[in-house]
C-alpha cells in the first residue's frame, strides 16, 4: 500500500506541473488507441507549457459524463472529449458551453453519426479533430478491390466490431463505397461481430470459414481483429486476403511478416496533438473547425509510410 501511495504522489506531482490546465476525457486508457491520443495530447501540452489532465472513462458513458462534470467544476481552460457516444456527447457540449468552458471533440464526432457528415462540426464545439471513419472504410475498399478476382463475383466477409458502436456501420458503409467506386463485383456473404478483440476476430473467422470455405477476402473493422483473423485463415489453409483498419503496431508487424495484406493507417498521437492545438488556439484561432490528417491504406510494399502509434 505504501508503494502504491508513493506512486500516486509521483503521478500527482507530474500531473500538476503548472501552467494553464487542459482536460482530455478519454473513452478508456486501457485502450491503446485512446492511450495514444492521450499521449499526443499531453506531449503537445507539455511543449506548450500547459498541464494536461487526462481522465479515463473506462468504457462507461456515465463515468465519462461524471468526468466531464469534474473537469467543468475544476474550471480548466479547455476540454477535449473523445466521446464514447456521439449522440450523448451533445449534452456535454451544451453543459460546457453553459459554463463557458471551451470544448473540442477528438476521434469521433458529436451529433448523430447517421445524419451528420463528419465535416459538419457540431455547433458549440471549438473544433473536431478526427479521422473520417467512412473515408477509412473507403480507403480499405479501394485497396481491397485491387485484390479481388476479376473473373467472378468475389465472396467477402466483414468482421464487425461489437454491436452498438457507430464505427461499425460507418466503416462498413465506406468499405462498400470504396469497392463500388473501384467497380468490384462482390457479395458480402457474412457480417459477424469480432468484439474488437483478436480472439474474437480469430473465432469469427474460424467459424465463418467452416461455413463458407471459399471466402476471398476478410475485411476486419479493426486491426486487433485482423491479426486474430490471420491466424484462423492460416490454420484453415484458406487463401483469403486480409485487410484491417487502424494501423496498430501489431498489424504493421504482421503486414511486414506477410500475414496480413493491408490496413488503413490511423495516427492517434496526431489526433491528440490536433485537439490540443485547437483548444490552445482558442475560439479566436484561425484553424479550421474540422481537423484531420491523411489516412492512407497501406500494403506490404507501402507499409513504411505508416508508423504504428498504438
Amino acid at each position: 500500500v505504501r508503494q502504491a501511495a508513493r506512486a500516486a504522489n509521483g503521478a500527482v506531482a507530474s500531473g500538476n506541473g503548472g501552467g494553464p490546465r487542459y482536460g482530455l476525457s478519454t473513452v478508456g486508457l486501457s485502450y491503446p488507441f485512446a492511450a495514444a491520443i492521450a499521449k499526443g495530447f499531453s506531449e503537445t501540452a507539455a511543449r506548450a507549457g500547459a498541464t494536461a489532465i487526462i481522465l479515463d472513462a473506462k468504457g462507461d458513458v456515465q463515468k465519462q459524463a461524471n468526468d466531464i462534470d469534474d473537469l467543468i467544476a475544476q474550471k480548466v481552460k479547455g476540454i477535449a472529449v473523445m466521446p464514447l457516444d456521439s449522440v450523448v456527447a451533445q449534452g456535454w457540449v451544451r453543459r460546457a458551453n453553459a459554463q463557458r468552458v471551451p470544448i473540442a471533440a477528438v476521434a469521433a464526432l458529436v451529433g448523430d453519426p447517421r445524419t451528420r457528415p463528419i465535416t459538419d462540426v457540431y455547433p458549440g464545439l471549438v473544433a473536431l479533430a478526427s479521422q473520417n471513419e467512412v473515408e477509412a472504410g473507403r480507403a480499405a475498399g479501394r485497396l481491397a478491390a485491387t485484390w479481388l478476382p476479376r473473373d467472378r463475383v468475389a465472396r467477402i466477409a466483414v468482421i464487425e466490431g461489437a454491436a452498438g458502436f457507430p464505427e461499425v456501420e460507418q466503416r462498413a458503409r465506406g468499405f462498400r463505397l470504396g469497392l463500388d467506386a473501384a467497380g468490384a463485383r462482390y457479395r458480402i456473404v457474412a457480417s459477424q461481430p469480432g468484439n474488437w478483440t483478436s480472439e474474437g476476430g480469430e473465432a469469427a473467422c474460424q467459424n465463418i470459414l467452416a461455413a463458407q470455405p471459399g471466402i476471398d477476402l476478410f475485411y476486419n473493422e479493426a486491426d486487433d481483429m485482423v491479426i486474430g483473423c490471420a491466424r484462423a485463415v492460416r490454420a484453415a489453409g484458406s487463401r483469403a486476403r486480409l485487410i484491417g483498419v487502424g494501423g496498430s503496431k501489431l498489424a504493421i508487424a504482421s503486414i511486414k511478416a506477410g500475414a496480413v495484406d493491408g490496413t488503413v493507417c490511423f495516427k492517434p498521437e496526431a489526433l491528440g496533438a490536433l485537439a490540443f492545438e485547437a483548444l490552445h488556439e482558442g475560439a479566436g484561432g484561425k484553424g479550421a473547425r474540422f481537423r484531420t490528417y491523411p489516412i492512407p491504406a497501406v500494403t506490404r510494399a507501402t507499409v513504411g509510410q505508416c508508423v504504428g502509434q498504438w
Binding site: 503521478a11 500531473g15 458513458v61 456515465q62 469534474d70 464514447l84 451533445q90 454491436a163
Partner: protein, 372 residues
C-alpha cells in the same frame, strides 16, 4: 433486561466500519488536495458532485441490498436500466415524458417478474437466470435501438426530462428541518442516537451554507433509501425480508410466503433499475446501446462493501449507499488529483479491499455471524 443502547457496538468497527472507511478516504483526499494547493476538496460543490455521481448506483444498490438480504442475486440490473432508458427515449417524443417514464418503469418491472418467476418457480439458480437476462435484455436494447444511439429531439420534452433530472434542490432549510425533527424525536423517546444524527445534519447544513443545493437524483436517492430503510427496520414486511434470507425454510414454516417475498425482491430490484434508467435517460437526453454496461458489479460491490452478506439474512441499505459513495469518492479523487491513469486501477482495488478489511478485522463476531 431492557434494550439499552450499546455504544461500544454502535460505534464499533463492525457496525460503523464503512463510515470510518469513507471518512478516512475523504480526509486523506482532502489532505492531499490541500498539500497540492488545489481548491478545497470538501467543498459543498464537490461533495454534491460525488453524491450525484453515486446516485444511480446508489438507487440500484439499495434495491440490490434488499435482494441480497432475501438471499438472491441480480446481475441484470444494468441491462434493465439501459432498457428502461431506451424505452423512455424511444417513447418520450411520442407520448410525452411522464407516460414514457411510466412505460419504462413498467417494462423494467416486467423483467423483474420474469426473473423472479423463473428463479422461484422453475427453480433455476438466480446467478445464471440473471446472467441470461443480462445478455438477453442488452440484446433487446440493441434490437430496439437498432444498434444506434437514440435521442430525444423535441425540445419541450427534453426540457421536462432535464427538469426531472437536473433541477438543483436547495437543501439548507429542509436539512435544518430534518435535524430539528430528529432532535425532538430524541428528546421525546430519550434515545440519544437520533439526536446525534440531528446535530451532525445541522452542522453539515450550516457548514455548506445557505445556498447549498444538490441535483435532484441525490434527493431521489435519499428518499428511496429512507423509505426502504424504514420499511426494513420498522415494519413486519421488513422483518420478513430478513427472515426469508436468514432461513427460508423456517420462514416458510412460520407462514411467510417465501415465494412472494423473493419475487417481490426481484421486482423491487428491477423497478429501481428502471427508475435509475429513467434518470440516466433524462440526464443524457439520449441513450446508447452499451450504456451502463458492467455497472452491475459496481452495484453489488457497493452493497457488499456496505457489509451485506451474499448468503442472505443480513444487510443495511444505508451502508450500501455509503459503500457507493466510497467507490465514487475514489474515482472523483483520482480525477481531482489528476492521478496517473495507470495507477488508478491498482489503487482502487487495494482501497476496496482495505475498506472491506476495516470492519471485517474489527469484528470477529461479525465473521462468525456471517458464517452461521
Amino acid at each position: 433486561m431492557n434494550r439499552t443502547t450499546d455504544w461500544r457496538q454502535i460505534f464499533g468497527l463492525r457496525e460503523a466500519g464503512v463510515y470510518y472507511a469513507l471518512l478516512i478516504l475523504l480526509a486523506l483526499l482532502a489532505a492531499i488536495a490541500q498539500s497540492q494547493g488545489l481548491p478545497n476538496y470538501l467543498s459543498a460543490q464537490n461533495l454534491g458532485n460525488i453524491a450525484y455521481q453515486a446516485s444511480l448506483v446508489g438507487i440500484m444498490g439499495v434495491a440490490m441490498t434488499v435482494m441480497l438480504i432475501t438471499g438472491a442475486f441480480d446481475l441484470s440490473v444494468a441491462s434493465v436500466a439501459a432498457l428502461a432508458a431506451a424505452v423512455l427515449i424511444g417513447l418520450a417524443p411520442g407520448i410525452g415524458f411522464p407516460l414514457a417514464a411510466l412505460a419504462a418503469i413498467t417494462t423494467a418491472i416486467g423483467i423483474g417478474i420474469v426473473n423472479g418467476v423463473i428463479v422461484q418457480f422453475v427453480g433455476i439458480n438466480a446467478f445464471i437466470v440473471t446472467l441470461g437476462t443480462l445478455t438477453a435484455v442488452r440484446g433487446l436494447v440493441l434490437v430496439l435501438t437498432d444498434g444506434r444511439s437514440l435521442m430525444v429531439e423535441r425540445p419541450e420534452v427534453l426540457q421536462q426530462m432535464l427538469a426531472f433530472e437536473s433541477t438543483r434542490v436547495p437543501l439548507f432549510w429542509p436539512l435544518l428541518a430534518i435535524a430539528a425533527a430528529l432532535l425532538v424525536l430524541a428528546a421525546l423517546k430519550r434515545r440519544p442516537l437520533p439526536g446525534l444524527g440531528g446535530v451532525v445534519i445541522a452542522a453539515l447544513a450550516l457548514l455548506a451554507g445557505r445556498g447549498f443545493a444538490v441535483a435532484a437524483p441525490v434527493v431521489y436517492l435519499a428518499l428511496f433509501t429512507a423509505i426502504v430503510w424504514a420499511v426494513l427496520r420498522f415494519t413486519v414486511v421488513g422483518r420478513r425480508v430478513y427472515a426469508v434470507g436468514g432461513n427460508a425454510e423456517a420462514a416458510r414454516l412460520s407462514g411467510i410466503s417465501v415465494h412472494a417475498y423473493k419475487i417481490g425482491a426481484f421486482i423491487l430490484s428491477s423497478a429501481a433499475a428502471g427508475f435509475a434508467g429513467v434518470l440516466f435517460g433524462c440526464r443524457l437526453g439520449a441513450i446508447n446501446p452499451t450504456a451502463l454496461q458492467g455497472a452491475e458489479l459496481t452495484v453489488i460491490a457497493a452493497a457488499i462493501l456496505g457489509g451485506t452478506s451474499l448468503l442472505g439474512g443480513a444487510g443495511s441499505v444505508v451502508k450500501t449507499v455509503v459503500g457507493a459513495l466510497l467507490l465514487f469518492t475514489l474515482t472523483n479523487g483520482f480525477n481531482v488529483l489528476n492521478l496517473g491513469a495507470s495507477y488508478q486501477g491498482l489503487i482502487e482495488g487495494i482501497v476496496v479491499i482495505a475498506a472491506a478489511a476495516i470492519y471485517t478485522v474489527g469484528g470477529k463476531r461479525g465473521a462468525r455471524k456471517a458464517a452461521a
